[in-house]
Protein backbone atom coordinates (compact mmCIF):
# COMPACT_ATOMS: atom_id res chain seq x y z
CA UNK A 1 0.00 0.00 0.00
CA UNK A 2 1.51 3.25 -1.06
CA UNK A 3 0.27 6.74 -0.32
CA UNK A 4 -0.82 7.03 -3.94
CA UNK A 5 -3.05 3.97 -3.68
CA UNK A 6 -4.60 5.12 -0.42
CA UNK A 7 -5.36 8.53 -1.91
CA UNK A 8 -6.90 6.83 -4.95
CA UNK A 9 -9.25 4.92 -2.65
CA UNK A 10 -10.22 8.19 -0.96
CA UNK A 11 -10.89 9.62 -4.41
CA UNK A 12 -13.14 6.66 -5.38
CA UNK A 13 -15.15 7.09 -2.21
CA UNK A 14 -15.60 10.80 -2.97
CA UNK A 15 -16.62 10.06 -6.59
CA UNK A 16 -19.29 7.54 -5.58
CA UNK A 17 -20.58 9.67 -2.71
CA UNK A 18 -20.63 12.73 -4.94
CA UNK A 19 -22.52 10.90 -7.69
CA UNK A 20 -25.07 9.66 -5.17
CA UNK A 21 -25.54 13.27 -4.13
CA UNK A 22 -26.02 14.33 -7.73
CA UNK A 23 -29.07 12.08 -8.06
CA UNK A 24 -31.09 14.03 -5.47
CA UNK A 25 -32.27 17.63 -5.86
CA UNK A 26 -31.30 18.67 -2.35
CA UNK A 27 -27.83 17.16 -2.35
CA UNK A 28 -26.89 17.79 -5.97
CA UNK A 29 -24.81 20.95 -5.57
CA UNK A 30 -22.83 19.47 -2.71
CA UNK A 31 -22.49 16.15 -4.55
CA UNK A 32 -20.92 17.91 -7.50
CA UNK A 33 -18.29 19.56 -5.31
CA UNK A 34 -17.60 16.31 -3.46
CA UNK A 35 -16.88 14.62 -6.79
CA UNK A 36 -14.68 17.58 -7.76
CA UNK A 37 -12.76 17.18 -4.50
CA UNK A 38 -12.29 13.52 -5.40
CA UNK A 39 -10.80 14.60 -8.71
CA UNK A 40 -8.43 16.96 -6.91
CA UNK A 41 -7.27 14.14 -4.64
CA UNK A 42 -6.76 11.83 -7.63
CA UNK A 43 -4.66 14.42 -9.48
CA UNK A 44 -2.50 15.16 -6.44
CA UNK A 45 -2.00 11.43 -5.81
CA UNK A 46 -0.90 10.92 -9.41
CA UNK A 47 1.61 13.74 -9.18
CA UNK A 48 3.06 11.96 -6.12
CA UNK A 49 3.91 8.80 -8.08
CA UNK A 50 7.66 8.24 -7.64
CA UNK A 51 9.74 9.21 -10.66
CA UNK A 52 7.44 11.86 -12.06
CA UNK A 53 9.22 14.38 -14.25
CA UNK A 54 8.58 16.80 -17.10
CA UNK A 55 7.07 19.14 -14.50
CA UNK A 56 7.11 22.24 -16.68
CA UNK A 57 5.24 20.51 -19.46
CA UNK A 58 2.71 19.11 -17.01
CA UNK A 59 2.18 22.58 -15.55
CA UNK A 60 1.89 24.01 -19.05
CA UNK A 61 -0.82 21.51 -19.99
CA UNK A 62 -2.80 22.12 -16.80
CA UNK A 63 -2.40 25.89 -17.16
CA UNK A 64 -3.66 25.87 -20.75
CA UNK A 65 -6.57 23.63 -19.78
CA UNK A 66 -7.55 25.85 -16.87
CA UNK A 67 -7.17 29.03 -18.90
CA UNK A 68 -9.51 27.64 -21.56
CA UNK A 69 -11.89 25.65 -19.35
CA UNK A 70 -12.74 28.12 -16.59
CA UNK A 71 -13.76 31.11 -18.74
CA UNK A 72 -15.70 28.97 -21.21
CA UNK A 73 -17.62 27.31 -18.38
CA UNK A 74 -18.26 30.62 -16.61
CA UNK A 75 -19.29 32.65 -19.62
CA UNK A 76 -21.38 30.17 -21.56
CA UNK A 77 -25.03 31.20 -21.76
CA UNK A 78 -27.51 29.06 -19.85
CA UNK A 79 -29.21 28.14 -23.10
CA UNK A 80 -25.91 26.98 -24.59
CA UNK A 81 -25.12 24.53 -21.76
CA UNK A 82 -25.83 21.27 -23.63
CA UNK A 83 -23.37 22.01 -26.42
CA UNK A 84 -20.78 23.07 -23.85
CA UNK A 85 -21.17 19.68 -22.14
CA UNK A 86 -20.74 18.07 -25.57
CA UNK A 87 -17.53 20.01 -26.09
CA UNK A 88 -16.14 19.10 -22.65
CA UNK A 89 -17.03 15.48 -23.29
CA UNK A 90 -15.35 15.61 -26.68
CA UNK A 91 -12.02 16.91 -25.40
CA UNK A 92 -12.02 14.09 -22.85
CA UNK A 93 -12.35 11.57 -25.66
CA UNK A 94 -9.71 13.45 -27.65
CA UNK A 95 -7.32 13.20 -24.70
CA UNK A 96 -7.78 9.43 -24.58
CA UNK A 97 -7.15 9.11 -28.32
CA UNK A 98 -3.99 11.24 -28.11
CA UNK A 99 -2.62 9.28 -25.15
CA UNK A 100 -3.23 5.99 -26.97
CA UNK A 101 -1.43 7.34 -30.04
CA UNK A 102 1.58 8.37 -27.95
CA UNK A 103 1.55 4.96 -26.24
CA UNK A 104 1.80 3.37 -29.69
CA UNK A 105 4.72 5.66 -30.61
CA UNK A 106 6.55 5.07 -27.34
CA UNK A 107 6.34 1.29 -27.45
CA UNK A 108 7.27 0.73 -31.11
CA UNK A 109 3.72 -0.22 -31.93
CA UNK A 110 3.06 -2.17 -28.71
CA UNK A 111 5.86 -4.53 -29.69
CA UNK A 112 7.04 -5.41 -26.19
CA UNK A 113 4.10 -5.47 -23.80
CA UNK A 114 1.32 -7.96 -23.23
CA UNK A 115 -1.36 -8.25 -25.90
CA UNK A 116 -4.06 -6.89 -23.61
CA UNK A 117 -2.19 -3.59 -23.32
CA UNK A 118 -2.34 -3.16 -27.09
CA UNK A 119 -5.98 -4.23 -27.29
CA UNK A 120 -7.08 -1.94 -24.45
CA UNK A 121 -5.12 1.02 -25.85
CA UNK A 122 -6.50 0.56 -29.35
CA UNK A 123 -10.04 0.19 -28.05
CA UNK A 124 -9.52 3.41 -26.12
CA UNK A 125 -8.13 5.12 -29.22
CA UNK A 126 -11.08 4.04 -31.37
CA UNK A 127 -13.80 4.98 -28.89
CA UNK A 128 -12.01 8.18 -27.88
CA UNK A 129 -11.75 9.33 -31.47
CA UNK A 130 -15.43 8.53 -32.18
CA UNK A 131 -16.38 10.45 -29.06
CA UNK A 132 -14.21 13.48 -29.90
CA UNK A 133 -15.49 13.94 -33.44
CA UNK A 134 -19.05 12.92 -32.62
CA UNK A 135 -19.13 15.48 -29.83
CA UNK A 136 -17.75 18.20 -32.12
CA UNK A 137 -20.59 17.52 -34.57
CA UNK A 138 -23.11 17.54 -31.71
CA UNK A 139 -21.68 20.89 -30.61
CA UNK A 140 -21.84 22.24 -34.15
CA UNK A 141 -25.47 21.22 -34.51
CA UNK A 142 -26.63 22.66 -31.19
CA UNK A 143 -24.61 25.83 -31.72
CA UNK A 144 -26.22 26.07 -35.15
CA UNK A 145 -22.90 26.11 -36.94
CA UNK A 146 -24.24 23.03 -38.69
CA UNK A 147 -27.89 22.65 -39.68
CA UNK A 148 -29.87 20.98 -36.89
CA UNK A 149 -31.89 18.84 -39.26
CA UNK A 150 -30.69 15.28 -39.95
CA UNK A 151 -28.04 15.08 -42.65
CA UNK A 152 -27.52 11.60 -43.94
CA UNK A 153 -26.80 9.40 -46.90
CA UNK A 154 -30.14 7.63 -46.55
CA UNK A 155 -29.93 3.94 -47.19
CA UNK A 156 -26.15 4.02 -47.69
CA UNK A 157 -25.61 5.36 -44.16
CA UNK A 158 -25.52 2.08 -42.24
CA UNK A 159 -23.29 0.13 -44.69
CA UNK A 160 -20.82 3.04 -44.82
CA UNK A 161 -20.72 3.27 -41.01
CA UNK A 162 -20.17 -0.47 -40.73
CA UNK A 163 -17.41 -0.30 -43.33
CA UNK A 164 -15.63 2.47 -41.40
CA UNK A 165 -15.91 0.52 -38.15
CA UNK A 166 -14.62 -2.64 -39.83
CA UNK A 167 -11.70 -0.69 -41.31
CA UNK A 168 -10.75 0.80 -37.94
CA UNK A 169 -10.99 -2.59 -36.24
CA UNK A 170 -8.89 -4.14 -39.02
CA UNK A 171 -6.14 -1.55 -38.39
CA UNK A 172 -6.29 -2.48 -34.71
CA UNK A 173 -6.11 -6.20 -35.40
CA UNK A 174 -3.07 -5.68 -37.65
CA UNK A 175 -1.31 -3.73 -34.89
CA UNK A 176 -2.07 -6.42 -32.29
CA UNK A 177 -0.85 -9.06 -34.77
CA UNK A 178 2.52 -7.33 -34.79
CA UNK A 179 2.57 -4.80 -37.65
CA UNK A 180 4.13 -1.78 -36.01
CA UNK A 181 3.74 0.81 -38.80
CA UNK A 182 2.49 4.11 -37.38
CA UNK A 183 0.20 4.64 -40.36
CA UNK A 184 -2.03 1.90 -38.93
CA UNK A 185 -2.75 3.71 -35.68
CA UNK A 186 -3.27 6.97 -37.56
CA UNK A 187 -5.58 5.12 -39.94
CA UNK A 188 -7.52 3.76 -36.98
CA UNK A 189 -7.92 7.25 -35.51
CA UNK A 190 -8.99 8.76 -38.84
CA UNK A 191 -11.49 6.02 -39.65
CA UNK A 192 -12.94 6.28 -36.15
CA UNK A 193 -13.14 10.07 -36.61
CA UNK A 194 -15.11 9.63 -39.84
CA UNK A 195 -17.36 7.16 -38.06
CA UNK A 196 -18.03 9.59 -35.22
CA UNK A 197 -18.91 12.36 -37.69
CA UNK A 198 -21.17 10.17 -39.81
CA UNK A 199 -23.01 8.64 -36.87
CA UNK A 200 -23.94 12.00 -35.33
CA UNK A 201 -24.63 14.01 -38.50
CA UNK A 202 -27.94 12.24 -39.32
CA UNK A 203 -29.33 12.79 -35.82
CA UNK A 204 -31.78 15.64 -35.34
CA UNK A 205 -31.20 18.42 -32.84
CA UNK A 206 -34.03 17.32 -30.54
CA UNK A 207 -32.37 13.96 -29.94
CA UNK A 208 -28.99 15.52 -29.29
CA UNK A 209 -29.01 15.42 -25.45
CA UNK A 210 -29.45 11.64 -25.57
CA UNK A 211 -26.60 11.35 -28.06
CA UNK A 212 -24.33 13.50 -25.90
CA UNK A 213 -25.14 11.25 -22.95
CA UNK A 214 -24.28 8.21 -25.06
CA UNK A 215 -20.97 9.74 -26.15
CA UNK A 216 -20.36 10.58 -22.50
CA UNK A 217 -20.75 6.92 -21.55
CA UNK A 218 -18.44 5.95 -24.42
CA UNK A 219 -15.72 8.34 -23.24
CA UNK A 220 -16.03 6.79 -19.79
CA UNK A 221 -15.51 3.33 -21.26
CA UNK A 222 -12.48 4.50 -23.23
CA UNK A 223 -11.01 6.00 -20.05
CA UNK A 224 -11.51 2.66 -18.30
CA UNK A 225 -9.79 0.83 -21.18
CA UNK A 226 -6.91 3.30 -20.99
CA UNK A 227 -6.71 2.50 -17.27
CA UNK A 228 -6.30 -1.20 -18.06
CA UNK A 229 -3.55 -0.40 -20.55
CA UNK A 230 -1.71 1.91 -18.13
CA UNK A 231 -2.41 -0.29 -15.08
CA UNK A 232 -3.97 2.68 -13.30
CA UNK A 233 -6.83 1.88 -10.91
CA UNK A 234 -8.12 5.45 -10.77
CA UNK A 235 -8.77 5.50 -14.50
CA UNK A 236 -10.40 2.07 -14.41
CA UNK A 237 -12.75 2.88 -11.54
CA UNK A 238 -13.77 6.40 -12.52
CA UNK A 239 -13.99 5.53 -16.22
CA UNK A 240 -16.11 2.45 -15.62
CA UNK A 241 -18.44 4.19 -13.17
CA UNK A 242 -19.10 6.82 -15.84
CA UNK A 243 -19.41 4.16 -18.53
CA UNK A 244 -22.03 2.23 -16.55
CA UNK A 245 -23.96 5.14 -15.06
CA UNK A 246 -23.81 6.95 -18.39
CA UNK A 247 -25.42 3.98 -20.15
CA UNK A 248 -28.25 3.84 -17.61
CA UNK A 249 -28.68 7.60 -17.81
CA UNK A 250 -28.81 7.51 -21.61
CA UNK A 251 -31.55 4.93 -21.36
CA UNK A 252 -33.48 7.03 -18.82
CA UNK A 253 -33.19 10.13 -20.99
CA UNK A 254 -34.36 8.27 -24.09
CA UNK A 255 -37.31 6.87 -22.16
CA UNK A 256 -38.24 10.30 -20.83
CA UNK A 257 -38.46 11.45 -24.45
CA UNK A 258 -40.36 8.32 -25.57
CA UNK A 259 -37.50 7.34 -27.86
CA UNK A 260 -35.37 4.23 -28.05
CA UNK A 261 -31.59 4.43 -28.26
CA UNK A 262 -31.31 2.23 -31.39
CA UNK A 263 -33.89 4.41 -33.17
CA UNK A 264 -31.95 7.56 -32.26
CA UNK A 265 -28.58 6.20 -33.31
CA UNK A 266 -30.03 4.84 -36.54
CA UNK A 267 -30.46 8.51 -37.33
CA UNK A 268 -33.05 10.31 -39.43
CA UNK A 269 -34.93 7.00 -39.43
CA UNK A 270 -38.27 8.31 -40.54
CA UNK A 271 -37.34 11.62 -38.96
CA UNK A 272 -39.70 11.00 -36.04
CA UNK A 273 -39.23 13.83 -33.58
CA UNK A 274 -35.90 14.56 -35.18
CA UNK A 275 -35.92 17.94 -36.85
CA UNK A 276 -37.69 19.80 -34.05
CA UNK A 277 -34.71 22.07 -33.48
Amino acid sequence: MTVVQILYIVAFALFVYGLMGLTGPRTAVRGNWIAAAGMGVAVIATLMIPGMGNWWLILLGIAIGTAVGVPSARQVKMTAMPQMVALFNGVGGGAVALIAWVEHRQSDGFAHGAAYVAIASLFAALVGSVSFWGSLIAYGKLQEILPGRPIGAGRLQQPVNLLLLAGAVACGVAIVAGVSAEILVIGLLVLAAALGVLVVLPIGGADMPVVISLLNALTGLSAAAMGLALDNTALIVAGMIVGASGTILTNLMAKAMNRSIPAIVAGGFGGTGGPAA
Partner: protein
Protein backbone atom coordinates in the same frame (compact mmCIF):
# COMPACT_ATOMS: atom_id res chain seq x y z
CA UNK B 1 -2.39 -7.78 -12.47
CA UNK B 2 -4.82 -7.98 -15.39
CA UNK B 3 -7.17 -10.20 -13.41
CA UNK B 4 -7.22 -7.79 -10.47
CA UNK B 5 -7.83 -4.88 -12.76
CA UNK B 6 -10.65 -6.69 -14.54
CA UNK B 7 -12.26 -7.48 -11.18
CA UNK B 8 -12.07 -3.80 -10.26
CA UNK B 9 -13.51 -2.93 -13.67
CA UNK B 10 -16.54 -5.20 -13.22
CA UNK B 11 -17.22 -4.02 -9.67
CA UNK B 12 -16.92 -0.38 -10.68
CA UNK B 13 -19.44 -1.10 -13.42
CA UNK B 14 -21.94 -2.40 -10.88
CA UNK B 15 -21.39 0.65 -8.67
CA UNK B 16 -22.12 2.84 -11.67
CA UNK B 17 -25.32 0.96 -12.42
CA UNK B 18 -26.52 1.07 -8.82
CA UNK B 19 -25.79 4.74 -8.19
CA UNK B 20 -28.08 5.83 -11.01
CA UNK B 21 -31.19 3.86 -10.17
CA UNK B 22 -33.68 6.63 -9.49
CA UNK B 23 -33.10 10.08 -10.89
CA UNK B 24 -35.78 12.74 -11.29
CA UNK B 25 -36.06 13.91 -14.92
CA UNK B 26 -34.94 17.45 -14.12
CA UNK B 27 -31.61 16.15 -12.86
CA UNK B 28 -30.77 14.17 -16.01
CA UNK B 29 -28.75 16.93 -17.64
CA UNK B 30 -26.78 18.00 -14.53
CA UNK B 31 -26.04 14.35 -13.79
CA UNK B 32 -24.82 13.82 -17.32
CA UNK B 33 -22.63 16.88 -16.95
CA UNK B 34 -21.33 15.66 -13.57
CA UNK B 35 -20.38 12.22 -14.87
CA UNK B 36 -18.87 13.98 -17.88
CA UNK B 37 -16.56 15.87 -15.53
CA UNK B 38 -15.59 12.64 -13.78
CA UNK B 39 -14.35 10.96 -16.95
CA UNK B 40 -11.98 13.90 -17.20
CA UNK B 41 -9.95 11.51 -15.04
CA UNK B 42 -8.20 10.72 -18.34
CA UNK B 43 -6.11 13.71 -17.33
CA UNK B 44 -4.27 11.28 -15.04
CA UNK B 45 -3.37 9.13 -18.04
CA UNK B 46 -1.69 12.11 -19.66
CA UNK B 47 0.13 12.98 -16.42
CA UNK B 48 1.44 9.43 -16.06
CA UNK B 49 2.64 8.98 -19.62
CA UNK B 50 4.25 12.43 -19.75
CA UNK B 51 5.55 12.39 -16.17
CA UNK B 52 7.13 8.95 -16.33
CA UNK B 53 9.32 9.82 -19.25
CA UNK B 54 7.89 10.55 -22.67
CA UNK B 55 10.56 11.27 -25.25
CA UNK B 56 10.51 13.11 -28.52
CA UNK B 57 9.11 16.54 -29.26
CA UNK B 58 5.96 15.36 -31.05
CA UNK B 59 5.08 12.98 -28.23
CA UNK B 60 5.54 15.73 -25.67
CA UNK B 61 3.39 18.15 -27.65
CA UNK B 62 0.64 15.54 -28.04
CA UNK B 63 0.70 14.81 -24.32
CA UNK B 64 0.59 18.48 -23.33
CA UNK B 65 -2.49 18.80 -25.56
CA UNK B 66 -3.95 15.68 -23.96
CA UNK B 67 -3.37 17.09 -20.46
CA UNK B 68 -4.89 20.42 -21.51
CA UNK B 69 -7.92 18.57 -22.94
CA UNK B 70 -8.29 16.52 -19.77
CA UNK B 71 -8.06 19.64 -17.59
CA UNK B 72 -10.71 21.41 -19.70
CA UNK B 73 -12.92 18.35 -19.27
CA UNK B 74 -12.51 18.30 -15.49
CA UNK B 75 -12.56 22.01 -14.67
CA UNK B 76 -15.18 22.98 -17.24
CA UNK B 77 -17.33 19.96 -16.41
CA UNK B 78 -17.62 20.62 -12.70
CA UNK B 79 -18.11 24.38 -13.15
CA UNK B 80 -20.85 23.94 -15.77
CA UNK B 81 -22.61 21.36 -13.58
CA UNK B 82 -22.54 23.80 -10.69
CA UNK B 83 -24.02 26.57 -12.82
CA UNK B 84 -26.78 24.26 -14.07
CA UNK B 85 -27.70 23.31 -10.53
CA UNK B 86 -27.59 26.96 -9.48
CA UNK B 87 -30.06 27.71 -12.23
CA UNK B 88 -32.53 25.18 -10.84
CA UNK B 89 -32.29 26.79 -7.47
CA UNK B 90 -32.78 30.27 -8.81
CA UNK B 91 -35.84 29.17 -10.75
CA UNK B 92 -37.61 27.35 -7.96
CA UNK B 93 -36.99 30.46 -5.88
CA UNK B 94 -37.36 28.54 -2.64
CA UNK B 95 -35.50 29.70 0.44
CA UNK B 96 -33.43 26.55 0.83
CA UNK B 97 -30.01 28.08 0.75
CA UNK B 98 -30.19 30.28 -2.28
CA UNK B 99 -27.78 32.78 -0.80
CA UNK B 100 -24.86 30.39 -0.86
CA UNK B 101 -24.50 30.03 -4.61
CA UNK B 102 -24.01 32.90 -6.93
CA UNK B 103 -27.04 32.70 -9.17
CA UNK B 104 -25.75 34.25 -12.36
CA UNK B 105 -28.75 36.14 -13.58
Amino acid sequence: MLLQNLAVLVLAGFVGFLVISKVPNTLHTPLMSGTNAIHGIVLLGGLIVLGLGAEGTLDKILLVIAIAFGTINVVGGFLVTDRMLGMFKGRSGSAKDAGKEETTR
